[in-house]
């Protein structure tokens, strides 16, 4: 056995001959460790997540599709996750990484419950935690391949909270946010309505839901990796309504008959 501290426990070259690093494409730099595995690309993916602030809180939506490349693989996947009393995390990107995040947040909630009494996790805490997880993983060159929205309330001000975080650890906040295709298709529509602080203060729950569901329809029309079945979360103080199995309604596909490739 090799007693060199940097190659402890490895077979001695003198006895067994030189190790063939080409086996499993192991690089010689990491040869004393196991081959390193890291996410190189997302596999099973979710598409856009949309969210807006409104009068009493935040509304968030994501469809129920998980794609395997261009294959619509799973059509009953929940991508909105409730954390604590009034926080929702919406995730797009790799679904297995999302499930890892689910577990991390679950652990966080349990640990937090043990350690600190009369203290609850609010949206800004969850967002800070997630951004550090994402940033640390990207710094290890082993990212969690997701873009997430975190909606809820700020612990200090009690104001509606909505922020974004992605696989690079990049974060930003705004009155209306979207991930994936939504940032191209839905954001212009959302910003048209929510163009000022006053517009947010005046937007009712009904108007907000209508706006979001309109955008989900636009996404289903134009994003090939989307589904007409989606979940909607209405986040108000100490109250989250997670409505599942909604459908895009009143759609018209008559234009499709004039376009080659839409099934004719």
């Amino acid at each position: 056995m090799n007693h060199d501290p940097f190659a402890w426990g490895r077979p001695l070259n003198e006895t067994y001959g030189e190790y063939n690093y080409n086996i499993a494409n192991a690089s010689s730099v990491t040869s004393h460790r196991n081959p390193k595995m890291a996410t190189q690309q997302p596999i099973v993916t979710g598409s856009s997540v949309l969210a807006i602030k409104f009068k009493d809180g935040v509304i968030m939506a994501a469809d129920n599709l998980a794609s395997y490349g261009s294959l619509a693989r799973f059509d009953n996947v929940e991508r909105l996750l409730q954390v604590g009393k009034d926080t929702i995390v919406g995730c797009s990107g790799d679904i297995s990484d999302f499930q890892k995040i689910e577990r991390l947040l679950d652990d966080l909630e349990i640990e937090d419950g043990y350690d600190i009494e009369n203290y609850e996790l609010k949206a800004n805490h969850i967002h800070e935690y997630l951004s550090r997880v994402f940033y640390n993983r990207r710094s290890k060159m082993d990212p969690l391949w997701n873009s997430c929205l975190v909606g809820g309330f700020d612990a200090d001000s009690g104001e509606p909270f909505l922020k974004y975080v992605d696989l690079l650890g990049v974060t930003y906040g705004a009155d209306s946010l979207a991930t994936g295709f939504g940032s191209h298709l839905a954001i212009p529509l959302l910003r048209k309505k929510l163009d000022s602080d006053d517009a947010v203060k005046n937007l009712t729950e009904e108007e907000g839901i209508k706006l979001i569901s309109e955008c989900m329809k636009v996404l289903y029309y134009r994003d090939a990796r989307s589904l007409d079945k989606y979940s909607l979360a209405i986040i108000k103080k100490d109250d989250v309504k997670l409505i599942k199995g909604l459908r895009c309604e009143d759609m018209s596909w008559r234009f499709a008959s004039g376009i080659r490739g839409y099934g004719n």
């Binding site: 494409n25 940033y135 990207r138 690079l168 990049v170 974060t171």
Partner: protein, 249 residues
């Protein structure tokens, strides 16, 4: 493409007989960096310093947010901004703020601006081989109460200066600052072109005017700059913030 390259283990498909056999691996690597645009600007005066930045946050051609602050009051009269890849920028600022707290616990006194600058050099150089992709500027008052601006490259090389622009529109703003703050290329009109215009400290009003002009010009000609301008001003009275809207297009 020789057969030996297959033997060396470069092939990506096990079978040599496959019609899709690829002798060289497809290079695809995760890119840990991105550019979030924006621009920052610091100017030191006689007994004040300002650090300003636009509030637009972008990736590619998308505007992520029209108000995402990137100039921070770190405490002890330090203004700091790290412009470039925003995840690295925020990480750097947070690390600095955290260490500043520890400095207070350990030494029970305010950190001087020159110590702060040297410390930031170490934070940046500590990641020499996986750098923070940011142009960092700090502003504050020195031990004599004079305005001070320090600017850093991504790996910690730094210098004290009278003024500095950083970020995407730095190349547009910096020559304007040379001309209007340090009076470069300007002559004394009295001397009939024989003497340079003499240097003098600018007043806070003059500096704020230059900052606003710089940013409205940069907004006009640079697509990653705009939406809002946040100016932080540090004097012996403390730190205050001013906000001015910029064009949103």
């Amino acid at each position: 493409m020789s057969a030996s390259s297959f033997a060396e283990g470069k092939a990506t498909i096990a079978s040599e007989y496959s019609s899709e056999v690829r002798r060289e691996p497809i290079e695809h690597q995760f890119n840990p960096y991105s550019d979030n645009g924006g621009t920052i600007l610091g100017i030191a005066g006689k007994d004040f310093a300002v650090l300003a930045g636009d509030t637009r946050h972008t990736t590619g051609y998308s505007i992520n947010s029209r108000y995402e602050p990137k100039v921070f009051d770190a405490g002890d009269g330090f203004l700091i901004s790290a412009n470039g890849f925003s995840a690295d920028g925020n990480a750097l600022v947070k690390r600095f703020q955290n260490q500043l707290k520890w400095y207070h616990f350990n030494h029970g006194k305010k950190m001087g601006i020159r110590s702060g600058a040297r410390f930031i050099q170490h934070l940046l150089y500590g990641k020499r081989f996986f750098p923070y992709y940011v142009h960092t500027i700090i502003a504050g008052l020195d031990e004599e109460g004079k305005g001070a601006v320090f600017s850093f490259d991504p790996i910690g090389s730094y210098e004290r200066e009278q003024c500095r622009a950083g970020g995407s529109a730095a190349s547009l703003i910096m020559p304007f600052l040379d001309n209007q703050v340090n009076f470069k290329n300007q002559l004394d009109p009295e001397s009939n072109g024989t003497k340079k215009k003499e240097l003098r400290y600018l007043s806070l009003e003059e500096v704020l005017k230059l900052v606003k002009d710089s940013f409205s010009s940069a907004t006009e000609r640079h697509i990653l700059v705009g939406d809002g301008l946040e100016i932080m001003i540090v004097t012996k009275e403390g730190v205050r913030t001013e906000y001015y809207p910029l064009k949103k297009d």
